[in-house]
Structures are given as structure tokens and as C-alpha cells.
Amino acid sequence: MEQESKFGRRDFIRVAATAAAAGAAWAAAHPSSGTTVWQLDPAKCLQCGRCSTTCVLNPSAVKCVHSFEICGYCDLCGGYLQPGAKARDSGAENELCPVGALKRTFVEEPFYQYTIDEELCVGCGKCVKGCAVFGNGSLYLQVKHDVCVGCNECSIARNCPANAFQRVPVRNSYLLKTRENGGKGHK
């Protein structure tokens, strides 16, 4: 080959390209920024149902979660029962959840505890809507990080009409509704 020992044109370009690529990568990097994951802000969520249909996973990585500490433990639960339900039991005509993922157990008169079976939940947000309309909003959607594959561009985020998806630090990866934050999901 030509110019075996001399520092030729190609060597120059290579060194320049190495420097440029490394420079670009270094300039772009934000050393302080750690890994982030997708999460949805329950305060913005409109319960449109897209979470269950636009996630790359089937069923979706978005599931309903329940903040017990802000739950009213109502007997007449807007998240559990169909609007206008004639009885407060688990009959298909009364139950709101289409897959029966929301379970109701008696605690003490007149309070009931509601828990979610995540195996079944598809993240459709029907119960979330019910609880938001008539309840404390203690049922809400969150991205479950044991399921989420962490796409670079979240497919749900792109399709979310409320722009409720955002990247959050991996250490603090849930926007939970608590009594302290007034059920807003964040401070």
C-alpha cells in the first residue's frame, strides 16, 4: 500500500474524524444526567384508553395502580362499578373493569378495599376515569417498570393526546399520588 510509514491523507482524515466524533459525543453528553425512564403524570392523564392500545407490548406496560392512602374505601366506588349499577356486587352487569382485574374485599362497615390484579390489567383506564369522576382519584395509571422495555421513543408518549408522558430519573421512577402531594402525583 502507499504511504505505509508516512502520516498520509487517510491517517489525517481518520484522526480528524476520531476527534470530531469523540468531540460531538462528548459535547452532547450531559455527564450529570443519569438514566431516565418513561412515566405518566396522573395529573395530566385524560384516561383516553390509548395506553392499552399503543404500547409496543401486549398487554401494555401501563397498569392501573392504587394509592390506598388517599382512597375513600367507598362502598359505592366509581372505579369499581358501572355507572348506574343496580347492585354493588361483582356481577358482570355491575363491574366496570372489562377484564375483572379490580378486586373488592370487605374491610369493615361501610368500607371496602380495592386491589388490582396486574396479571389481568390491560391499562385501559376505565376504572381510573370512574374514580376521577366520582372518587378521590386514588386509582390511576402508571408505567410498570418491571414490564416496560424502555423504548428510546415511547410509543404511548407519541400518541398521548394529553402529553402526559415524561422521562423521570430511574431512582424515582413513579409519580405516585400521596396524601402529601394532595393526590397530584408530584410536588
Binding site: N58, P83, G84, A85, A87, E93, P98, V99
Partner: protein, 585 residues
């Protein structure tokens, strides 16, 4: 003879293995194909009916909800249908899962079999025909032609696509441009809460700090650093465009602006790293002049300091452009206030209180004090101003309530910040006034070169403030730098390189200290220390009170300093020449 192990045998043929592998491949291929077809069929079926949202079921449910009594037959119908729907959904789910795994397995077997078959009936390397000399050149030329043709085809396709599918969005002419004030009115409801006075004190929201009268609410600012060695210098960055405005700080952000004759920019830096978080070039608003008015060399096109208020930051420039951004740099609103009629250039800084932004828009004619709603940029109130000035407003929580106090040629005026009504006026100034008022020990203090310095006091028991001149002093006075007050003294730094301390009770000179350089930046009171930066960047740090007790005189580099520093908890931000520095740990 040590001999390298020969590489694996290549091109070995075996008819038996080939046959077996081909057989496996055919079977697994057929299997995979069947599974794929079933999967597709399943998918199509499920999307077609969408079992969880069957319209019939929905209708039945509504029927039941509307019925006054529970109808057993209807309920039975719903239960049956719901069961079917759930079964369809879960069966389809499990089929998809199972099908996926089966397909994956099938494909792996297929690929392995195909590879094995191929390996044991290899295509042997064999010499090709004669050297394709002619073919070589023809193919090269042909490739070029085809490429040219495809290029043209793409361009044509792009044009056809552009012609056939124009964007159908109603014209912007029918609507106001997005950047003009008022359009953001819809956002107004969401930003009703404004930062409290306590929150403002934890930040450095405006020129000369919270309220704008030169008092920092932290006493932890550093006194020792060395820019040359980098000691105690957290970071230092270059600000892209020039500007005489001073840094303001809110939370983790430092804001500055810069401008030339052509361009106006707002910058947001990270307080921790000094990294430029965002920078925004101002668009033209309706009324923005093609060229900004003439300004003095020392004033420049971005003399007015910004104001940061909660999640908003606002900036004004020499051409009268005013823009409001949120913390992320999204333009919330903006407008041109009319080109200022001002022979040195507009230099009054912005101030914010509650939900209002105040602009001291003093000009040769038609001067105004404007209060805008920060949420949407709509005018809350305006009052006319008679005389021109280059001073900035201050907002003080006096015993009589909050007062917005402004200097101008001849007068000191106080207004109610929320309504704009005039509270009091005192005639005690003269000349071209650039220094802004100071406040200390219940008194206002104003000063301007070639006029007199005046301490303004108020009768303590009156319900409404009635100003009176406590005392006056008419020797060397500042012409750019604003004074600052403590309970006992007022301090001035002059362009003639003096630091002057006056006793606020008597009006006597407590001391005068001469230094090497004059001052444009205003002194800042932080705890029991005063920080005064001269024009060469020497920071004179001295103790308040008598006599003059210097603490240190570190420098912020040799560059000219026009801007007043922002003094925060353990940190000071300086704009020196082209640079923005953060001093502190």
C-alpha cells in the same frame, strides 16, 4: 513437525445430511407458515371485534343503566355476552403468546436446518467466465445512468407528492401570530399562583435582588476567591452576545440577555454547571422596528436586567421588545412596547411582584409606567410619566404596605403596585437620573450626580405615607451606580472611584474611601458586608458601619464590569465583560 491445525474443513458435501436437513426444513417451514397464518388470523379477528369494547355489550349496559328497575333478563344477557367477550380476549391473548413462542421455535429450527442443508451441499467456489473487461465499463456507465434517472424520479415524485397532498391548516393570517401578547390568555388559568415575597427572597429575581433595592437575603456569600487560579470559582462561561444587564437567579437557573443591532437573545444557564440550558432568539413582534434606535455605547442594546418570577422569565431590549418565557424557554407571550424615545437607550430594568410585571418606560415624550399580567402579557394598568430617566423601579414592603418607587428627572414617585394609584411624590432630584432608590431604616434614599442626595422619611404614625426630606447632601454623588441602605447608613459608590458612607440619622459623612477605579455596578448588602464591584472588576468587600473596615478585594478578572452581581446562598454570580462567573463552592 509442529503443524498448525488446519482450519475446519470447508465445502464438504454430504448427501445424507443434506436430505435430512432439507426434510426438517420443509416440515419446520410449513409449521412456521401455519403458525404465522393463524397468528395473523387471530390478530385480524381480535382487532375486528375488539372484545373489550363490543358495541352491543355497551348498548346493553346503557339500557340497563337507563332502566329504573334491574331487569333479570337483561342482566342475564349482559353476563353471557361479557363472558364471551372476556373469553375471546383472554383466549386470543394466550394464543398470541403461545403462537409467538411456537413461531420463534419453528423459525430457529428452520434456520438451523436450512444452514445445515446449505453447509452439506455447498456451492463450490469456481472460476467464472472470461474477465469481464467490457462488462465492467458498461456496468459502471449504466449504474451512473440509473442513478441519475432515479435522482430525477425522486425529485419528480417529491413534487407530485407536494402537489397532491398540500397541508390543510387554516391560514395563520386569520389568527394573530402566536408570539403576540394575549394569545396565551388560555394559559392564564393554569398559572394563577405567583411566588410569594418569601420565595422571591430565596432567589435573585431582578436587578439588585428581591425588590430591587440592593439587599441580599443571604449572608453566606464568599469573600475569598481567585479567578486566575480558579480557586473558589465554580464555573465561568462566555455569554454569546454583549449586554450590560445583570444576572438574575431563580431556582437552578441563571438568566441573562444579550443583543446586538441585529439580534436579541435570552439565555438560561444552569447554576450548578454553568451549562447553557437554553438560549432563545427573539422573533419579531408586530411593531418591532427593522433597526433598533440609536443607543449609547455604554448602554448597548440589552442594558435592562431581566426579571425571573416563578416559572417565568421576562426580558426587555433597547428596541422596546418584551418577551416572556417559561423555565423551559417556551415563549409564553411577547410584544413590542413601541420604540423608546431615549437618547442613551432604554436601560430601566424589569421588576415583578405578585402577578404583575412592571416596566418603567420613561422617555422624552409619552413616558409610562406599565404593569402587565405575567400570565398573559395583558395590561393590568398604566400611568403616564412626565420626565425621562434611566433608573429602575424598586418595590419595598414599607410599614404602609408595598410601594413601587421610581426615580426620574426631578421627582421620586411612589405607586400602589397592584392598582397603579400614586401614593406620594417628592421633588428632590435633578439631571439625567440613572441611580435607583435605596431603602433602609424606614427611609428612602435617592442620589444623582450634579444634584443632591436626599433621605426621605415618613411620619411614623400616619396612616398614609407623607414624605418629607430628612436631610440632603450635595457633594460627590453617583451617576450610574445606585446606593444601598442599612438601618444606620447609606452607601454610595461613585464613578469618581469613591465609596461614601453617610449616617442615615444625621446625614453626616461617616467616611469616604477612595479606590482605584470608578463604579457602574451597584453595591449589594449581604448580611453585615457590602460588595461593590468597580469597573475593572475589583470587588471591594467591607463591613457595614463605622469606620471603613475592608475585608478583602478579590477580582473577577480584568474585564470591564457594568453589571451588578447576584448574591445567593454561598454564591455570587458576576457578569464581567463577556463572561458569566459563579463564585462559591
Amino acid at each position: 513437525m509442529p503443524r498448525n491445525k488446519p482450519k475446519k474443513k470447508r465445502f464438504t458435501a454430504s448427501d445424507l445430511i443434506w436430505k435430512a436437513a432439507t426434510g426438517v426444513a420443509v416440515v419446520s417451514g410449513l409449521f412456521s407458515l401455519t403458525v404465522s397464518i393463524l397468528l395473523v388470523a387471530n390478530y385480524v379477528q381480535v382487532t375486528a371485534i375488539n372484545p373489550l369494547d363490543t358495541p352491543q355489550l355497551l348498548q346493553l349496559r346503557q339500557q340497563l343503566a337507563a332502566a329504573p328497575e334491574a331487569d333479570a333478563k337483561l342482566i342475564e344477557q349482559i353476563r353471557t355476552m361479557d363472558l364471551l367477550a372476556r373469553r375471546a380476549f383472554f383466549t386470543s391473548q394466550s394464543h398470541l403468546k403461545l403462537g409467538g413462542s411456537l413461531l420463534l421455535g419453528g423459525v430457529i429450527v428452520l434456520l438451523t436446518a436450512l444452514r445445515t442443508a446449505r453447509r452439506f451441499k455447498p456451492r463450490l467456489p469456481e472460476p467464472q467466465g472470461p474477465p469481464p473487461s467490457e462488462h465492467y465499463w458498461i456496468s459502471r456507465a449504466f449504474t451512473k445512468e440509473v442513478l441519475t434517472f432515479v435522482g430525477l424520479l425522486w425529485a419528480a415524485a417529491a413534487l407530485v407528492m407536494a402537489y397532491l397532498t398540500p397541508l390543510d391548516v387554516p391560514s395563520a393570517a386569520a389568527t394573530a401570530p402566536v408570539a403576540d401578547a394575549g394569545n396565551a390568555a388560555a394559559d392564564a388559568g393554569t398559572t394563577a399562583a405567583y411566588p410569594s415575597w418569601e420565595t422571591m427572597q430565596q432567589n435573585w429575581p431582578s436587578f439588585r435582588g428581591p425588590g430591587g433595592y440592593g439587599v441580599a437575603h443571604f449572608s453566606t456569600a464568599p469573600t475569598e476567591w481567585d479567578v486566575a487560579t480558579g480557586k473558589n470559582v465554580k464555573w465561568q462561561v462566555e455569554v454569546p452576545l454583549p449586554g450590560a444587564n445583570s444576572p438574575v437567579v431563580w431556582d437552578k437557573r441563571v438568566f441573562l440577555s444579550g443583543a446586538t443591532e441585529e439580534k436579541r437573545e435570552v439565555y438560561c444557564f444552569d447554576t450548578e454547571t454553568g451549562k447553557l440550558v437554553w438560549s432563545r432568539v427573539l422573533d419579531k413582534f408586530s411593531g418591532t422596528p427593522e433597526k433598533p434606535p440609536k443607543v449609547g455605547d455604554e448602554t448597548g442594546y440589552a442594558a435592562s436586567t431581566l426579571v425571573a418570577h416563578g416559572d417565568r422569565v421576562m426580558a426587555i431590549f433597547a428596541n422596546g421588545d418584551l418577551a416572556c418565557y417559561d423555565a423551559e424557554g417556551n415563549l409564553k407571550w411577547g410584544k413590542n412596547l413601541g420604540v423608546p424615545d431615549n437618547h442613551y437607550g432604554h436601560s430601566s430594568s424589569l421588576l415583578a411582584c405578585q402577578n404583575l410585571l412592571f416596566i418603567q418606560y420613561d422617555q422624552r415624550k409619552n413616558g409610562k409606567l406599565i404593569a402587565l399580567d405575567i400570565a398573559d402579557g395583558k395590561e393590568a394598568w398604566t400611568v403616564n410619566r412626565e420626565k425621562i430617566s434611566w433608573a429602575s423601579p424598586v418595590c419595598v414592603q414599607t410599614p404602609f404596605g408595598p410601594e413601587l418607587v421610581l426615580n426620574s428627572e426631578q421627582h421620586v414617585d411612589a405607586y400602589d403596585p397592584l392598582k397603579g394609584t400614586a401614593l406620594w411624590q417628592l421633588k428632590c432630584l435633578d439631571g439625567e437620573v440613572a441611580p435607583s432608590p435605596a431603602y433602609g431604616g424606614g427611609m428612602f434614599f435617592v442620589a444623582n450626580d450634579n444634584a443632591t442626595a436626599t433621605a426621605i422619611r415618613f411620619a411614623p404614625d400616619d396612616k398614609t405615607p407623607k414624605p418629607e426630606i430628612a436631610w440632603q447632601w450635595d457633594q460627590s454623588l453617583p451617576d450610574v451606580s445606585s446606593p444601598v441602605g442599612t438601618d444606620k447608613h447609606f452607601y454610595m459608590t461613585t464613578s469618581r472611584a469613591e465609596i461614601i458612607c453617610l449616617d442615615s440619622a444625621s446625614g453626616e459623612v461617616a467616611w469616604v474611601q477612595e479606590v482605584d477605579e470608578g463604579f457602574y455596578a451597584s453595591p449589594i448588602l449581604a448580611g453585615d458586608r457590602i460588595y461593590a464591584v468597580d469597573r475593572k472588576g475589583a470587588v471591594h468587600i467591607f463591613k457595614t458601619g463605622q469606620p471603613f473596615t475592608p475585608i478583602a478585594t478579590p477580582s473577577v478578572g480584568g474585564e470591564e464590569v457594568l453589571a451588578t452581581p447576584a448574591v445567593m446562598d454561598g454564591r455570587i454570580y458576576f457578569r464581567a465583560g463577556k463572561n458569566l462567573l459563579c463564585i462559591g463552592a
